[in-house]
């Protein structure tokens, strides 16, 4: 039963990713990407990572994609011009190189993890909870936690400075 759920979720994730990168209309691509992020949240739930699953849907599907859609609507971006540069040799070479690299990586993973764990660890349900990750954030990872607030501050200041109109 779990294999069916994993198979459906993995197939959805790959299908929505492929649909995202092939759409002409940026809004369609953004919608498929939202579906992809929700599917990844389901995959995280199969791994007992409850906190990460909820944060994935909240942050990625809920905040980042809304920001991307706002920008698309603000700049009024319509469909790309029809495929004049679709099947150029450069494009085929690029996609071909990526496919070859992907097959190599999959072969390495398949042959190199023969004796990898076959089932989830017994602690996976405990370490995925909000309490455990919160406890780690405030004890062992408190320095990165404070440092990430500086990263967010720099990003906010940078975004405001870049996007405001120059009135000089």
């Amino acid at each position: 039963m779990e294999q069916i759920i994993f198979g459906v979720l993995a197939l959805f994730a790959v299908a929505t990713a492929l649909l995202t990168i092939t759409r002409r209309n940026p809004v369609s691509a953004a919608m498929w990407l939202v579906g992809h992020f929700a599917t990844l949240g389901g995959l995280y739930l199969t791994l007992n990572a409850q906190f990460i699953a909820v944060i994935q849907v909240l942050v990625y599907a809920g905040a980042i994609m809304v920001l991307v859609l706002f920008v698309i609507m603000l700049l009024n971006i319509t469909k790309e011009e029809k495929a004049k540069a679709k099947m150029t040799p450069k494009n085929m070479l690029g996609v071909g190189a990526v496919v070859v690299l992907g097959l190599e990586i999959c072969a390495i993973i398949w042959s190199g993890t023969k004796d990898s764990p076959q089932t989830l660890s017994v602690q996976s349900a405990q370490i995925g909870t909000v309490e455990y990750i919160g406890h780690q954030l405030f004890t062992q990872y408190s320095f990165p936690f404070e440092a990430i607030s500086f990263v967010l501050l720099a990003a906010i200041i940078g975004a405001v400075m870049l996007a405001k109109k120059n009135v000089d």
Binding site: E2, Q3, F6, A10, A13, V14, A17, T20, I21, R23, P26, L33, H36, F37, L40, L43, Y44, T46, L47, A49, I52, Q56, V59, Y60, A63, I64, V68, V71, I72, L75, E80, G94, V98, L101, G102, I105, C106, I109, T113, P117, Q118, T119, L120, S121, Q123, S124, I127, G128, Y132, I133, Q136, L137, Y141, P144, V151, L152, A155, G158, V160, L162
Partner: protein, 102 residues
């Protein structure tokens, strides 16, 4: 206890990473390139969480937490760059942003 080996999660992560890389290489719209970069980041997140759950180590999920935060910050700054680029050149087609080309 589920019986899906670790390989399968890693291969799904690798395939998603390659799809994102193909999107970055092929597309010309700056916002779709940005979305492909987010695809790659999510593939890495999936790999990290898979390792964390299968080995019982919480460090993978902590790293995913910080990767998501950095990705959110990077998306804000990246989209601000796209907006200011559009304000100057009226296009998001990366082939037309070539004033540094020799």
């Amino acid at each position: 206890m589920q019986n899906i080996p670790l390989n399968w999660y890693l291969i799904v992560g690798a395939v998603l990473f390659m799809i994102g890389a193909a999107g970055v290489v092929t597309r010309r719209n700056a916002i779709i390139i940005f979305m492909s970069i987010e695809l790659m980041l999510n593939a890495v997140n999936l790999t990290l969480v898979a390792f964390s759950s299968f080995l019982g180590n919480v460090n993978g999920q902590m790293l995913v937490f910080f990767v998501m935060t950095v990705a959110a910050a990077e998306s804000a700054v990246g989209l601000a760059i796209v907006i200011s680029l559009f304000r100057n050149k009226q296009t998001v087609n990366v082939n037309e942003i070539n004033i540094l080309k020799w």
